[in-house]
Amino acid sequence: MSMATIEGQAAPPPAEVQSFTVTLLIRRFDPEKDTEPYWQDFDVEMYPTDRVLDALHKIKWEQDGSLTFRRSCAHGICGSDAMRINGRNRLACKTLIKDLDITKPIYVEAIKGLPLEKDLIVDMEPFFESYRQIQPFLIASSKPEKERIQTVAQRERFDDTTKCILCAACTSSCPVFWTDGQYFGPAAIVNAHRFIFDSRDEGSQVRLDILNDKEGVWRCRTTFNCSEACPRGIQVTKAIQEVKQAILRGGNA
């Protein structure tokens, strides 16, 4: 598409977009220097359309190069930059400055429940370990000539849980996961749900057996923190409840 301009007529000057100063309080931790994490404040000039990730970039590029955080795509798909912003787990790349209360400082810290490595980076290994345990891949014995046929309704059944980007926002918002590191956590159960309710998959019983464990779905206390935290809008708690129901019904999901 091309911009429509009228010959001989000057385009009106773009309205001045107001920028403002935002204070960010970031929980810093350098394992080589610090014994305890501490809060450090930064003032950055931001536009309302900027995101928290832009603020972090500005700090890292212009003020303090030692600030450490993960980000890859910066567009809410890779799931690298989940962090706790103003006490809620969100993706820094999907949180607009204008949606936060800028009259107060914006608190940014690493997600909880996983070992803190540096500044906003945590060790994601325990998270991925429980993800691996639920066998997040298609288990099917048949080898069709072309594709595996599925109706629209069958696809719809697990559509919600296919949206997961493994950012750990849900798992690290779960109070059960905070205290019980053995618990699979919401994200692993969501990804099990994605295959348990997939009509093409034959391993649902295997996954239900894994989740019917002491540290499986029964640990869930339906606090809905995970559903609230999910940047993809997945109904996480509902998915966990559906897995519980499937186990109680004998796993004919």
Partner: protein, 150 residues
Amino acid sequence: MTTEPVEWPRTARAATRNRGINWEKWGWVYMRVSGVALVVLIFGHLFVNLVAGEGVNAIDFAFVAGKWADPFYIVWDTLLLWLALIHGANGMRTLVNDYVYRPKVRKWTLRALFASTAVLLLLGTLVIYTFDPCIGDPQSSGLQELCAGR
């Protein structure tokens, strides 16, 4: 680049620790089932004791003796005792698992919880089934007529 076909399953899954009863699952089911039953039992109990008839003024030794003369209330109170106490103890177990981090302290807290629950259950059941309305002084409890023949 070649892609080698990988036969399924590539590696056998580690055996699930599935031995005996799945306590975590049945505990979860128990909390829901007993919860529903307890809504009826507790509000029924409160209504009979506090609202029906003379209301709260009716409660004394004779009132309890009168209730337990009826097998219906013996069953009712037994169900109330067992369902509520185990429901509560299981909830406490969850709290202990959540907040007691040190394994040794946790183990002993859970044992103390289990022991106190067992003692309370036995004691309560004993009282319900061995209750004697003529214990003590029938004069003061107002059960002279009932106990006169004893």
